[in-house]
């Protein structure tokens, strides 16, 4: 009798350690994948066309590239943790870029001061992104439309709105200082001579310009702040806890008195808002607004979130995971460009990675059961 109990206890212990090992694999594989990718592209870039994949310039290039995926991915993380998905966010990014660009174009033409032009443009882009977010949340939380369909439909509406507003053309003719801001750096290091912030030292020519080391792209800085904020909200606040509860056990959340519908609506609004930030930054980087600015970002952001360990079944996901996932996608895309692979392969690569990540998640769950 006692030996049997002991055996059973021992079996339980091994079971729980193997479970924990599985958890570790789930949590760590993205980091391992990241390292493998970096090593692979470093070696490949060196041997194939003798370029340094890990130079300060290309690292910052990867980071800039990752910001768009990451911003959309942050909101997507919250939505996916609640057990939903938002397929409209990429298009919301485009709409925000168009609206921000339209406002800045008009104010610039009216010769308003640069600070006002930028502020008003940014605020307009952010404000418009709240609308699809709110409607998505209302559809999912109140009307009980499945998130997949509700947000897909909303994506169509948003796309149409953006094209109608822009007349189908990119909104160019932006103020010149917009591009300096969008493609500028926080710090310019001029070795042996000094440091300037936000803009390079004036009157540099040829050789001197090449010596200049720009550090921390503005868009990366802005994105980093947003990442920190969202991380804080999700991991340290009651609202964040409720997001996990809604995705973990909806019934339990209702019974515990959590305002589930309000939580859902807020999550979808935040997803729209993050995409809005992405759209404003896009307009600043490309000094333009285009309805299809985020066309591929919905997919890449979902990929980043799922690679980062979030589960499409809800209840699981972290901001750090999404950060790693975004870097992985950015490195794959950037690395393929450096290796000179036809860019269309990027779609194939990203799509495959999404499917793989979901399979790993399902497999892990099946083992855990």
């Amino acid at each position: 009798m006692t030996t049997k109990t002991a055996e059973r206890a021992a079996a339980q212990v091994t079971e729980s350690t193997s479970l924990r090992r599985l958890e570790m694999v789930r949590r760590l594989w993205a980091w391992v994948f990241l390292v493998i990718l970096v090593v692979f592209f470093t070696v490949a870039a060196k041997s194939l066309n003798d370029t340094n994949f890990l130079s300060a310039r290309s690292i910052q290039g990867i980071l800039v590239y990752a910001t768009q995926i990451l911003l959309v991915g942050l909101g997507q993380t919250l939505v996916i943790i609640t057990g939903g998905i938002d397929l409209s966010v990429g298009w919301t990014l485009g709409l925000a870029a168009v609206v921000a660009a339209l406002v800045m174009q008009a104010l610039h033409a009216a010769e308003v001061s640069p600070v006002l032009v930028i502020t008003a443009g940014a605020l307009a882009g952010l404000a418009v992104s709240l609308i699809p977010g709110f409607i998505n949340g209302w559809l999912v939380a109140r009307v009980k439309v499945p998130p997949f369909i509700g947000t897909l439909g909303m994506g169509g509406v948003v796309t149409g709105a953006a094209f109608l507003l822009s007349g189908g053309y990119p909104i160019a003719k932006q103020p010149p200082y917009l591009g300096q801001l969008g493609n500028g750096y926080l710090i310019y290091l001029w070795p042996g001579q000094g440091v300037t912030f936000l803009s390079p030292p004036p009157d540099l020519a040829g050789e001197q310009l090449r010596e200049l080391v720009p550090l921390i792209p503005n868009v990366v800085f802005v994105t980093a702040i947003v990442v920190l904020l969202v991380w804080f909200v999700l991991s340290q606040t009651q609202f964040g806890r409720h997001i996990y509860a809604v995705g973990g056990n909806f019934e339990a959340a209702v019974r515990a008195g959590i305002p589930v519908r309000r939580t859902l609506i807020q999550v979808y609004i935040l997803a729209g808002l993050m995409a809005g930030v992405g759209g404003v930054l896009w307009a600043a980087r490309f000094t333009s607004g285009a309805p299809d600015a985020g066309e591929t970002t919905t997919l890449t952001a979902v990929a980043a979130v799922v690679i980062g360990g979030a589960s499409l079944f809800g209840g699981e996901g972290t901001i750090v995971g999404t950060l790693v996932g975004s870097l992985i996608i950015a490195i794959i895309q950037f690395g393929m460009v450096i290796l000179g692979i036809v860019p269309f392969w990027q779609y194939v690569a990203v799509g495959t990675v999404v499917i793989l990540a979901v399979v790993v998640d399902q497999f892990g769950r099946a083992l855990g059961k």
């Binding site: 109990t5 009651q238 996990y244 995705g247 019934e251 515990a256 209840g315």
Partner: protein, 264 residues
């Protein structure tokens, strides 16, 4: 002594069927009441009226000497009637203390009074205190409840109820999905609750469980409460004959086989 719970002439009809018919029952502090009956006898309907899920067609419920007209389960919980559900109502992706404080998280100010953040250390301390008080052992409070055993999860659900001042527990088949040693732990916990002043109404098909834990057994048949026995003064035989109707047992002349072996 005044009973904590008294139901008088409680009746519930569903169309032409009277699921519970003029039921009278009391629960006192310091006891565990076993509620038994065949399928469809009306046990679940009776406790659903007590926990506010159904509203009685006739009769009334008194809790702590006051008449209650419970409109929904939230009202019942608010006055201290807590039902432990089969699915346990835990968020399995969250850890033990997150579940105990689910929906009622403790917060503390951060950056002056700019924002409120989760006060994890207070919630962890309070959680381990309530678990200790109930003699519940869980290896780590920081693990997701999905990694706990069925009995441990049940214990967490019970600890949560107790922490939030449950005064009467209702458990419907709490041991149904558990292994033998886990069943025993849950029954021990029910007795611990009783000794700390929280009575339990427990529904079970398992006579062993009922006799192991109940002080008093209330028997239902076809919507009526047909009998009430002190567990110490009765036998499985007697309870079963009350459950199925004594005349049926006499006519058939035999008890179901499983019950024969149990009484032997």
């Amino acid at each position: 002594m005044e009973p904590l719970l008294r139901v008088t002439n409680l009746t519930k009809r569903f169309g032409g069927l009277t699921a519970v018919n003029r039921a009278n029952m009391e629960v006192h502090v310091g006891e565990v009441v076993g509620l038994v009956g065949d399928n469809g006898a009306g046990k679940s309907t009776l406790i659903k009226m007590i926990s506010g899920v159904y509203q009685p067609d006739e009769g009334y419920i008194e809790f702590d000497g006051k008449r209650m007209a419970l409109q929904d389960p939230h009202e019942a919980r608010a006055i201290g009637i807590e039902t432990i559900y089969q699915d346990l109502a835990l968020a399995e992706n969250l850890d033990v203390s997150a579940n105990i404080f689910l929906g009622r998280e403790v917060r503390k100010p951060f950056l002056g009074h700019l924002v409120q953040v989760l006060d994890r250390s207070t919630m962890n301390n309070e959680s381990s205190a309530v678990l200790n008080r109930l003699d519940i052992h869980i290896p780590s409070l920081s693990q997701q409840t999905r990694n706990l055993s069925g009995g441990q999860r049940q214990a967490v659900a019970i600890a949560r109820a107790i922490y939030w001042n449950a005064r009467l527990m209702i458990m419907d088949e709490p041991t149904a999905a558990l292994g033998v040693s886990e069943q025993r732990k849950v029954l021990t916990l029910v007795r611990t609750l009783r000794d700390q002043g929280v009575p339990t109404i427990i529904i079970s098909h398992n006579m062993q469980d009922i006799f192991a834990v109940a002080d008093r057994i209330v028997i239902m048949r076809r919507g009526f409460i047909v009998g009430e026995r002190k567990a110490a003064d009765t036998t499985v035989d007697e309870i079963v004959s009350l459950m199925v109707g004594a005349e049926v047992v006499h006519q058939a002349g035999v008890l179901p086989r499983a019950l024969e072996t149990e009484t032997a």
